[in-house]
Symmetry: C2
Subunit: 480 residues, 2 copies
């Protein structure tokens, strides 16, 4: 599916600060070559060429391919030597055994960076390991930077650079946005990109590092931290050869006050073994990763779903000032569940001030008014009750964040319509509070609540966990 | 929203075995009275009367209300004494201080059961506690059974009995189904019922127990276990005054081979305190509950979302024969995540037989073929590769269950269409295996995959966790 946003302009490609950055050629190339560009637009080498050429990238894109038949309408060049000038960025899509030769040619030609998508390197056994060492040596000995091997490429949607073979691009446009996604795993990055897109979040950068013979997740995080348009950084990693470098990159992100949400896999023995087979990564000592993430305030998600929830909440760019959470519901039962979740996630379910509690109990004796607060469904028979309970929770309890469980009320317009107005007013009156709602609701009303500044969830445990993640992140980024 | 299924027939109300059951009058009443039936169809007492009368319940429904003005078109009776014969089931919707009198009148009149929805009992303080003790004493001294107080009522959709004030009923029909939902919390039960409905599951019974002065969650579970139409039992509890009784009810369910999915809240200190304020429940020693659930094979969910996932999977009525899980993906990264999840959830990520592993590695050297299995996106360029990998995972690995991660492939019809046929064939060839898919997919294709017998999830961790829950349940129900 072609993008419907305007083509990028080459000025974007050469930003001021970017020229000193050795990764500029990778993220903001002035020209691109595809070694192994295929005539078949469905094959990997055909797709990368097609996506880079046809999606608004403003620089020249050269197919390097044997033979004289046009490559998807373009005249092929026989080798990198035939380029009019060295390409900034070279995609390498040839069988593993030919990769060292192609990478070496790119270095000799003075190109800036290679993206090696081919598999069959250290992840596949001793022979592949030798091949990987060869290209690693080239990266070390020259100015050429290498992304991969065994990766899915790179995207910088702002400059129309879709340097990947992700087939979902044929169906789903990925317009520019503010989330940087840096991942060892390509398919993880693909899946996460689509999940984020489905939830209204788009990408500032997308970078898959695969076997990391040179450029690694830490490099990607550092780039994203320095990138003006990036507001949230999402990272997936299986291993890390240089924890100190990772630590330093996370510190850069923390200094620039960019939230980082990370998923580090390979905790279990079969997980660690799978990581070795996948990107030749050593999963390492899980506790050491925990320590590195904790120091920088990076939030470690336990699943892709949680990672998307937290990223989405971070993109709203509101963080609680502390860990005190007010839990309000129309169902004591779910209040109990939310209290359990909040405690487990490290939030403080602080009691309502005693005077307020007494006042609420006097209004509605069978309500719960301590925290969790339960106004019961009675509050929808008498709106003044609801207003008093909501005001107490939002304003008088002194809570840094509020989670409000409304069960199935969203399915009942007679109740939901007057409730929407009240929620919007409460939200507007307290812009400094983080407010999450949990309810079953249609997309239109959900959108309206989100635009008003609520985080909206169906599941109350996910609402509480996400607020806890925001408190954790905010605690590190804004109050140290 | 009125139901569009035909009205029930009174034969259903008086089943053969049911007459000996002291809870027959509660779950299958031959007649109903509503004490406090309101002329206002939107008020609690107006809604219960309306829902019971207007949704297909075939027996007589009497409004008991002061005054002579019609109650929603029906002639009110001044008291239970004015009934032509004792009502089987009496809903009590009057302020707490009048409840003992109403319950006592029901007992004197020879009614079978009362549902007390009113709040203001033990959950609200010492005065309410005294009121609750009064009605509890009536239940002990007479044949009258009491559900509540402080509950949201009861539903038996097969006989059109919608005895609740859940306002969502105005919008959402709740037709009969095969899941029994027994909950201390009414709003939890409402929320869960709608979530299940949204995922295609309907209710055989729905029972909220509130403060449990007489009928408790254990009674509801025992009824559901003996109920012919119930295939899965879902329970929510905050406390339990008689753990031995709960244990016995769970054992009945286990004997009848009905899976039980339970959420027990109140683990944390504020959660336990909230439970006290909500249903006057003592959350008790959490480890003792764990022990009771473990003994019967009840699966303890940690969130409503997980409870719904597992219930839905149980309703498909296929359980793995063991804990060996085959994890296959087109992305090594997500394979690593799934392996971590599987180990954490107690599944056995057993390696592929060595001969099969070698064979697969020979086919595709950069694939992972041990477990997790990663056929890489290459398999979609050459379907024979995919077929071999899938066959190995489904058939040759000897796995009891299979989880297949397909990332964003669902968004690409050119790949998804040939894939659908292959998946359906694999599913049909191995009906004895539990197979879960994780992918981003549209509703239509999702429906087709579900009809073919796959469990379908967007998030891979939820897929793995649900399969682990099925293995846990199956292990207890079918192999002890």
């Amino acid at each position: 599916m072609p993008n419907d946003y305007p083509p990028a302009d080459l000025d974007l490609v050469s930003g001021a600060e970017s020229d000193s950055d050795s990764l500029r050629a990778l993220f903001r190339p002035r020209s691109v070559a595809v070694v192994g560009a295929s005539r078949d637009p469905g094959k990997i080498g055909g797709r990368i060429f097609r996506y880079v050429r046809d999606r608004g990238y403003p620089g020249p894109v050269y197919p390097i391919s044997a033979g004289t038949e046009p490559v998807q309408g373009a005249e092929p060049l026989p080798s990198l030597d035939a380029l009019p000038s060295p390409a900034d960025l070279v995609f390498v899509v040839v069988p593993a055994r030919h990769v060292p030769e192609a990478v070496s040619a790119a270095a000799d030609r003075g190109c800036g960076a290679c993206v090696v998508v081919s598999s069959g390197f250290a992840e596949s056994g001793p022979e592949g390991k030798v091949l990987q060492e060869e290209i690693e040596a080239i990266a070390r000995a020259t100015d050429l930077r290498i992304l991969g091997p065994n990766c899915m490429g790179i995207m910088n949607p702002r400059i129309g650079l879709y340097g990947t073979f992700m087939s979902a691009l044929d169906e789903v446009p990925l317009p520019p946005g503010n989330v940087a996604l840096v991942s060892q795993s390509g398919a993880f990055a693909t899946h996460a990109a689509l999940l984020l897109r489905n939830r209204g979040l788009d990408l500032s950068l997308w970078c898959t590092t695969g076997n990391e013979c040179d450029v690694d997740v830490a490099d990607g995080i550092a780039c994203a931290a320095r990138d003006e348009d990036t507001e949230v950084i999402v990272a997936y990693l299986e291993g890390c050869r240089d924890l100190e470098k990772l630590d330093a990159s996370l510190a850069v992100a923390a200094e620039t006050r960019k939230p980082i949400v990370v998923l580090k896999a390979g905790r279990s023995a079969p997980g660690a073994e799978a990581a070795r087979a996948h990107t030749a990564a050593e999963a390492g000592d899980d506790a050491r990763f925990d320590g590195v993430f904790r120091r920088s305030g990076a939030y470690r998600a336990r699943s892709i779903e949680e990672l998307v929830d937290v990223t989405r909440a971070c993109a709203a760019n509101a963080f609680p000032n502390g860990r005190r959470v007010g839990l309000m519901s129309i169902s004591g039962g779910v209040g109990v569940i939310m209290a359990d979740d909040a405690v487990r996630a490290g939030l403080d379910v602080a009691p309502m001030p005693a005077a307020v509690e007494s006042e609420l109990k006097a209004l509605l004796p069978f309500a719960a008014a301590r925290n969790p607060i339960d106004c019961t469904a009675q509050a929808f028979n008498d709106w003044s009750l609801f207003d008093r309970f909501l005001d107490a929770t939002v304003r008088r309890g002194g809570y840094d964040s509020i989670v409000l469980f409304l069960a199935t009320v969203g399915a009942n317009p007679a109740v939901m319509d007057p409730l929407m107005d009240r929620l919007e007013a409460a939200r507007a009156a307290r812009p400094d509070r983080v407010m999450a709602l949990s309810l079953i609701i249609d997309d239109e009303r959900r959108g309206r609540l989100e635009r008003a500044g609520f985080l909206v969830f169906e599941d109350p445990s996910r609402a509480v966990n996400t607020v806890a993640a925001l408190a954790h992140i905010g605690d590190h980024l804004f109050r140290r």
